[in-house]
Symmetry: D4
Subunit: 244 residues, 8 copies
């Protein structure tokens, strides 16, 4: 609804003052004490509010996720530990995946839409790739995984190319020299989302080498998210997939 | 065409050996001496080969762009100087835009598709924003520009929000603290592509501050391209727009 | 007292040689062995000597804080562990807050002055925000807390704006892209003190992204303190508040 | 005016729809083509919109500053070149100071308020110190300058201490090791704003050494602005001074 | 000759004291005033002394290269400008290549040995690739050039693979994401020497991205030299080629 | 076999479609679930596939190494922990060296070829030097070790010089200021491979100082691998040694 | 003895071949397996070989220190843990100081020479300051300690100035903004050796801020050693003190 | 004179109030408008006030140097351009050296004291070495120059060792990998002052590689000054030399 329409409706007595404030100023969150839980974020941004668990106490996570579940019936927590999971009340129906470190409260089954290809360079990149894949599935996208396809044995990548090229978006997960998105960007039409990982050592500087490489990709059409940020890549890919 | 089909066709004498090599190994470029010009890149990646002019001599740019125009009837050169432009043969029909530093050889008019919103933070970001906007238009997307909407006066952004939210993709161009993509990512459904610019001084470190800020956006769904890389953002946005 | 007056008074025999040295050369500390405790710092700088506990042994902290309490009746220790607290003699009457990691020996109640608004971006920034809030209260300022107001859901910030704009100073605590001070600086008259936090991961580089973003704020009127330095922000805000 | 009051007034027909939008959504800027000029910024943030000239063409600066002068009768341009100044229409009545690189369009004389002390470490820091001093004067504060007081000859600082300690705020400008704010912070009650400068060479890294030093000041109560950002320091100091 | 043998020969009067000092202590240079020219370096290190011209005056370069030519009949100057070249006496018989910035004084023709493959990613990398190729030829190696084979169109690389795999060493020159050495290292037996170039912009940081990428290559068998250091790569490749 | 020959043979029915795909597209790996094990890598790159254990679970390492042993009879795991080793089935016949952190499954004895000299600067560099030495031995090279030869006592290096100068390649392992490769490069004909180590503290920045020093060696002919990457250095040295 | 004299003496049969090698080539070390212990280092460099224990096993430290004690009767180990100390044989007569982390095997008492002033900024810098002080005493210098004299309370420094100004060298130990050496360098004649410490947090970056500040000291006459390197500062100060 | 004695003398009427202020508070400078010229610095710090010309206008330099000459009869300006020199009044009797970029106003001849050895690695380091050498001579030390002695041909260094080892201090000037101070520190008793230079390119990062290498020298007894800071090294060396 456009701003003018809202004010007209209010002047005409059709909507309340609270409604005006909710729509125009976004007063849609619930104050859960340590956090303000935003019940309209999915409507506004295409995805629900997700709880970044790192740096929060288990108790805080429990309060916030319960509030979200109460409202949406579904919830996602990232960078979670077993302790965060344990603090959740059983009635949440949450599940914890130690590889991707996700807490998932899934709602009723929905048909997955479109296709997102998650391609990773090496086995050590698996936790980040799984964070991406499981997040995208939680959000409602169909996901295909192609792991251990790094450029040191580039034929492995070619062998899966047929299945990648018709995805809505490609998530390319790589550490070390982070060359995977460049090679994919030069071979495939779908937009490529690069996820640098902190896999490697020494002059890798916790993922900086892969990050810089992806930022400087000679193949255009590559967008980059933060180091080890599988979640962010999935969120972006899902937004793109929504458009298909 | 799948690999098996190609080989079967070859065994059956339906296609030549050269055709097999072209399809399977991608032998589709023309060697222009200083460069190997790739005539199938658009087919393969969704966009044509684009000439990055920086670091190339005017003569090299002239040779390469002429070769591309000969094949595709259209061509784009980025980071070009007036000297690069001057070296092009007149029959190319090229135009040079000193703000965006693009050389454009446009082909016959085509209807623009979809919508890409290019939003910039300040007037000083204009050259990068224009590189993005003009590139996207060259690729075939419809573009809407919303300039000078930085977060220091955030109401300016709100006033254009109505027009932004139904784009296929949002390109957010910002220097200094680079907060624009985060704010947009929290308010709009379309995928956001952040372009950090080198606008600022001191601890800006030629765009590093904006780059890091965008990589660390607290709003998910933001992909980042290189500093001042309006071209790359447009290429990615166009790929996403193609899907609409 | 001006320098000339001091020397005149001394020449006139009105003050002692020790008094001259105390005033002109600042010889006001007590040597506590491992540290020189400064009994006039509050008089000189507007705030008492505060003990930075990190890197000190519990025994050293106990000696120094006891000396301060003996003189001022009040004391503050920052970055303290439980072990530091345990080493303090019971008669100090100290309290320990594990969230903000402060040891506080509070004196007789005093009326709080003015108003400092402490605004934080996310729940994970809470320890730093609390270090700031509790320090400012210890120093004598009245504090209002507004937590979880980050720019990814910027309407949460707007909903508390009415209460922020008449503070003497605003402390804005944020990690990740650190955009909060910029948005506040564009919307409010009070001086804004940015506190970057190390909340985030990857290209956050332990708070560097937020630090650089705040240094490059496009909204003028933002001063920045060290990463996670809630204490320093409170001290500065209190100095400003003293002026009201 | 509080949000509820605005809506009540609107519902009662006392204010227009446009007025509601202006107050609630901040629709107060004028679109000058290349920029959106914000006519209410001073009301909202305590200082007028200031034009950062670097990266803007002289023509853009002329358009924007003229628009501001038309509305406010006064204007300030920072990081300006002679060419920027030359592009301004004569009727603006602007003056250009090549040392501080400021373009100033001053309005009718106003009494200067309070006191801001600008202290600089060396003669080479003078351009930044003058940017700070002249900006603060433009904003309406009274300024006292104390230049060439660096810590390599710390007695020079002591000799001016008497005049510094009763300022509303101290702006401490220093390059190289940037120790000046720490020494001032340990000796004076007023809040200290550190401005690192790019003066120095080698491992100075264009001001990084001074920036880091000031961020890590062992004296609390120091807020830091960007390298060479005399303007930002003045804006912050003026906000503090306003409170006196 | 082993140390013991030298001393025995000296004790036996077979060699002079000067000879002992020359062999044991390496006293083999000629002091040319501003430099000590080393006449035995080729014997000792497998390659002649080469003059790094950057930072030297034309006069210094002329003195040093003349001294080398006098002794060896051949000389190489790197990072040279036209001004350096102009200062050389005509009888040197030097030639200057403005692309590679080399000054070459070539001696009598010698048969080139072995094979070094110089592979570059893009046309903008040509100056560095030519510095490598021409240096290797000067040192006596046979060189094959394969330019514009970057990973954004990886099929271009495959088409030349047949010719690369039997070289003694591969020099891989690439800027931007610097992925070329990794791909080559996974496909070919010869040792790969990566040369990061400063081609690119923004987060390329003058070649840092390519440097880090090559250091972190997931394909083992890649040694890296300094950014833009075609000369160093050629020297190393030639040493390897000598072994064939 | 050249591409044309492969297709001719296929057209002539001499080889199967699978064979064409194996040779032309490199479809030679086995999908082991979490990884794609490449059975032809040694044939293609001169060395076998090696398992980088860091970031992989013991179970993943066990699966991958077993698959490699099954195919090649030999296997190498780097950066392995005792837990990785314990997960291997006993029939692998693996051995674990806690100093170099290598898991080695050695095959039937083979005569070692050539000579690689491994020279290290200090005793603390021993783990990296041993990773290099043992890897080179595993690959089939003969290795000579010269440890504790750093430049702070440069005569120690001279005393072993006689034995170093006829190696096929020199691996120079050093932390701190990383000067060893420069000194060796100026004294010896064989190619020098520098391995910076993270030995040191403070401004060493985990090996960055040694890395930068080696990249900037004033002695040409030095190739550098990643910090602490003894394995990579050995792989490169072995490739060079193969050529002797 | 000059080189010529050595060879003459050898030719004249006055000294043996081994003696020539010892003097000219420095063959003076003992190969202790994991290390080459240098028995003439004190003669050559003014201080004995010192064992850097970090990264060495306790067994290695025991072997090396025993070898040194056997030869010199005295030994020093830095960065040692209790475990390193425990591995030493009792007859060494070693002592361990957990604050400075030094293992000291002191010989017969010698009169201390000259005077070195060790000045530190805060109590948290004490471990580094003690490493410096105890090392200097071990080497034979007389040491005066002045701790907790940081610039946040600069009068504490003035009160000890009288005792500092006649030292042979001043060691200034400081973390955070590292301003102490600059202030000392502007007030005192003796050479100042700055030791940046890693004390601090956030943008301190483990001592980088103090390191850069000291490198950029506006007071000339300051030499800087590595972060936390009290040992190195003491060694340098002792060398200077030897000259008095 | 001790503080107590000063005050006693004042109380006894033996010295004036101004004298007390001069001695106790260091009020010894002359305010030259843009700078405060310190006439007692030599007395206090062992060297005169020196003018750092970079960033100062020619007029400012002229005013300051004239004031110094007036008082001391001698003056030194560093980092000066020809324009700075031209602005000086002829009666100053100044000389300008374009290599070292020093302006020198020398007083009556004095006998040079002691010996400082200035050793440089390459010819490109000459400007920095000369800044050091000429500054030390200006201050009154005798200087010996040994240029082009870098570690790539380490025998060149050995050939001059006999002359270096009895200096009061060694200034070691080197760019690139900056290994010279480490080698010197392992071979010579005098204290070594390392001066990293910005000579080099690529990963040299304007001298950072040499700076870090010198900070991490494995030879103790090395103090480091800023990149290209020949002046600072000379000042420190002269202070050490004064002690001889």
């Amino acid at each position: 609804m456009k701003t003018d329409d809202v004010l007209d409706a209010f002047a005409a007595g059709k909507i309340s003052k609270e409604e005006v404030k909710r729509v125009l100023l976004g007063n849609t969150f619930v104050d859960a004490g340590c956090a303000k839980v935003d019940h309209c974020r999915e409507y506004r941004t295409g995805g629900p509010e997700v709880v970044y668990c790192e740096g929060k106490t288990p108790e805080q996570v429990a309060v916030i996720m319960s509030e979200i579940v109460k409202c949406s019936g579904r919830a996602l927590g990232t960078r979670a530990t077993q302790a965060h999971f344990n603090a959740l009340p059983a009635e949440c129906g949450a599940e914890y995946d130690p590889v991707s470190r996700l807490i998932i409260v899934d709602g009723p089954e929905r048909p997955a839409i479109g296709k997102i290809a998650v391609v990773s360079a090496g086995t050590s990149d698996l936790p980040v790739a799984e964070e991406a894949a499981k997040t995208a599935e939680f959000l409602g996208s169909r996901v295909e995984r192609h792991y251990d396809c790094g450029v040191a044995g580039i034929h492995r990548l070619f062998s899966v190319m047929d299945e990648i090229i018709d995805a809505s978006a490609i998530i390319a997960v790589a550490g070390m020299e982070g060359a995977l998105p460049s090679v994919l960007g030069g071979m495939a039409v779908p937009p490529v989302i690069g996820v640098p990982t902190s896999v490697g050592y020494g002059a890798n500087f916790q993922g900086l080498s892969a990050l810089l490489a992806m930022m400087n990709s000679c193949a255009p059409g590559v967008g980059v998210v933060n180091i080890d940020n599988g979640f962010g890549a999935a969120f972006l890919a899902h937004k793109i997939n929504l458009k298909r």
